[in-house]
């Protein structure tokens, strides 16, 4: 199969859906001629024109609000938010308006929009350009949250997101834009709420999102060399969450580590670990471990930044201990 970059995959998904549905359009900062600073949208304005690839002023709350209004009245806006960290600026429009409109209107108004943004540290971009804020939006009923872990997922989830009748937030890993993966030429969609078993295993389950899937896969390789068989699962969407697939794996392996690049405390790993503990408790041979980013603002200095996020070595180390029956934190 041909291999394309995550950036190309997103670009293809957008182009295909924009060809398919004339009510779709993109808005955001420097999305047109510049094709965004990450160049993910290059070429789209040439095909679709400035009416459908709209450069906005630097007014995130404003254009997010406008996307809500356009969505409520018959369009399908795709909002480009340059850095995931700027989500703090648009929380009101996203969480008080977009997320609640369908419910508050008793099902009469729909808000079919996609918010494309990103996550990921270790790019030397410091505390306001490196956050992974998926936990915040996952907490708000009415929002769906997708976290593609490769070009393949990026394309399939984006297409599903654009056709969904609800507000969907997609976090792309900004460090993976140039990573290649096999992506079919034929059209495909990836349904929401269906986890993907990236690697089968029997001793321990590694549940990882987005950027952390690679980390988990590398850890699994390391573990395999030592005779530990790790299963790697990517939930692909955290809302809806494919609880059954995760439970099934954990019931089989009896051990799990949940890995996500957001801050650990009050983060995504807590929800997933809690559900496993609640619903697979009697199958567990060890506590479900969580590995998120450290609870510190992301430091600029390379000497510090790299130690704030989970690494393959760290995951393997924890997996080894869990499998050896060491009660890592237990009293």
């Amino acid at each position: 199969m041909r291999e394309i970059t995550l950036s190309q995959a997103v670009n293809e998904a957008l182009a295909e859906e924009m060809r398919r549905d004339p009510t779709t359009f993109i808005m955001g900062e420097d999305v047109a001629e510049a094709g965004t600073p990450f160049k993910v949208l290059s070429g789209l304005v040439e095909e679709f024109g400035t009416d459908r690839v709209i450069d906005t002023p630097i007014a995130e709350p404003g254009f997010m609000g406008m996307a809500v209004g356009a969505a409520m009245t018959g369009a399908r806006p795709i909002v480009d938010l340059m850095f995931g960290d700027f989500i703090f600026l648009i929380m009101d429009q996203l969480c008080n308006q977009a997320a609640k409109t369908h419910y508050m209107s008793g099902g009469k108004l729909n808000v079919p929009l996609v918010l494309r943004t990103n996550l990921g540290a270790t790019r030397r971009s410091a505390a306001q350009h490196s956050q992974s804020l998926q936990a915040l939006v996952a907490h708000i009923p009415g929002l769906k949250v997708a976290m593609p872990s490769s070009a393949y997922e990026a394309k399939g989830l984006m297409k599903t997101a654009i056709r969904d009748n609800n507000p969907v937030v997609i976090f792309e890993d900004k460090l993976m834009y140039q990573d290649k993966a096999p992506v079919p030429e034929e059209e495909y969609l990836i349904p929401f709420g269906v986890a993907n078993v990236k690697r089968e295993g029997s001793d321990i389950t590694l549940i990882a999102t987005s950027s952390m899937v690679q980390v988990a896969e590398k850890a699994a390789e390391m573990l395999a060399a030592e005779g530990i068989s790790a299963e790697v699962i990517d939930p692909r969407t955290i809302v809806p969450l494919d609880e059954e697939a995760l439970l099934k794996s954990v019931r089989k392996t009896s051990r799990a580590i949940v890995i996500d690049e957001g801050h650990q405390s009050y983060g995504v790993t807590a929800e997933i670990a809690s559900r496993l503990n609640e619903k697979a408790f009697y199958h567990l041979d060890a506590p479900v471990l969580r590995m998120g980013a450290m609870d510190v603002p992301v430091p600029f200095s390379p000497a510090l930044e790299d130690i704030t996020v989970p690494t393959p070595e760290g995951v393997a180390e924890n997996a080894r201990k869990l499998c050896a029956g060491e009660m890592i934190h237990a009293a």
Partner: protein, 328 residues
């Protein structure tokens, strides 16, 4: 002080405007009564006194034109064509309400007449209205969107963000600032520096100030601006000088610490939009006192019937609680 003379002359239109203003007043009187008699859950914000604003504007719109509304939204909802029954049901949290009881007073919406909904976030609908206008432009549709908000809401930065984009892209949106002199318990001059219309003008937006107690003046101006907006000459900004008769919400009873009874009396006795328009209609021979009284009585009965209906209506089934979180 008399309504602008050169507005519409169509008798039917005038009488409908009159009726719509009376309907709003009547709706609010009943809602207030429901609150005072502890039959309504929560609080609500009365539109009484500001009827000429909503009616003057909405009568210049069609059902395909959209509006966004505010926490003080019953007036906009009625003026845009909503029915009493579904409105009272919504205020009481009943299944037959416009939002199946899930929205309540602060989120009442009426999709069928283009009302995109009240909003409990002050300024929260400015983006929505502007986005609706963007959609109209992108889809080559000639509808216009009116964004209602209060003087207090002009302090929210969102307004300036969306006005900038509306101006850059010539969007068919009209920003309607209902300046009733107060935001909650604070006078407008204490929270708004400079000039409200100048703020719009600084973005290159044509801005007007109009007497919000004069339904014909409001309607006349709006008709012109709507026609121009349809042709791509928007956006526009209107500051409507008006007054709310009740407290900030139904529970705001003792309010002399922030505004005097004399001031309230003056507005009610000398600038009431309904009384003024009624005088005009009679003076110009458009309606007799009897015809006016007949309209009033009819509206009152409609409202009373709707209240009775809504009180007896049933609540949504508990199974609805997790319906409509997501659309299919």
């Amino acid at each position: 002080m008399s309504p602008a003379k050169k507005a519409k002359t169509n008798t039917e239109d005038y009488l409908r405007m009159y009726r719509q203003m009376v309907r709003i007043r009547s709706f609010e009187d009943n809602a207030n009564q429901l609150y005072l008699s502890a039959k309504m859950p929560g609080l609500t914000h009365m539109y009484s006194g500001e009827e000429a604003v909503a009616v003057g504007i909405c009568e210049a719109l069609t059902d395909s034109d959209r509006i966004t509304s505010t926490h003080r939204g019953h007036g906009h909802c009625v003026a845009k064509g909503a029915e009493f029954k579904e409105m009272f049901c919504e205020l009481l949290g009943k299944e037959e309400g416009y939002c199946r009881g899930k929205g309540g007073s602060m989120h009442i919406a009426d999709q069928s007449h283009g009302n995109l909904g009240a909003n409990a976030i002050v300024g929260g609908s400015m983006g929505i209205a502007t986005g609706s206008a963007l959609r109209a432009k992108l889809q080559g549709s000639d509808d216009v969107t009116v964004c209602f908000f209060g003087d207090g809401a002009t302090a929210q930065g969102l307004l300036y963000e969306v006005m900038n984009m509306a101006a850059l892209w010539n969007l068919p949106v009209i920003y309607a600032c209902e300046n009733n002199g107060y935001s909650e318990y604070t006078k407008t001059e204490e929270i708004a520096a400079g000039s409200i219309t100048a703020r719009a003008e600084a973005f290159g937006i044509e801005a007007h100030q109009v007497d919000g107690q004069d339904v014909l003046a409001v309607n006349d101006l709006t008709q012109k601006l709507v026609a121009r907006a349809r042709k791509g000459e928007g956006p526009f900004f209107i500051e409507l000088m008006t007054y709310r008769y009740h407290g900030h919400h139904v529970g705001d009873i003792n309010r002399e610490y922030y505004r005097s009874k004399a001031e309230e009396k003056d507005w009610k006795e000398n600038r009431d939009p309904i009384t003024r328009f009624r005088h005009f209609l009679v003076q110009e021979g458009i309606a007799s006192e009897d015809e006016i009284e007949a309209i009033n009585a009819e509206v009152e009965k409609d409202a009373a019937d709707a209240v009775e209906y809504a009180l007896a209506a049933k609540y949504p089934d508990v199974s609805e609680v997790d319906m409509h979180v997501f659309a299919d």
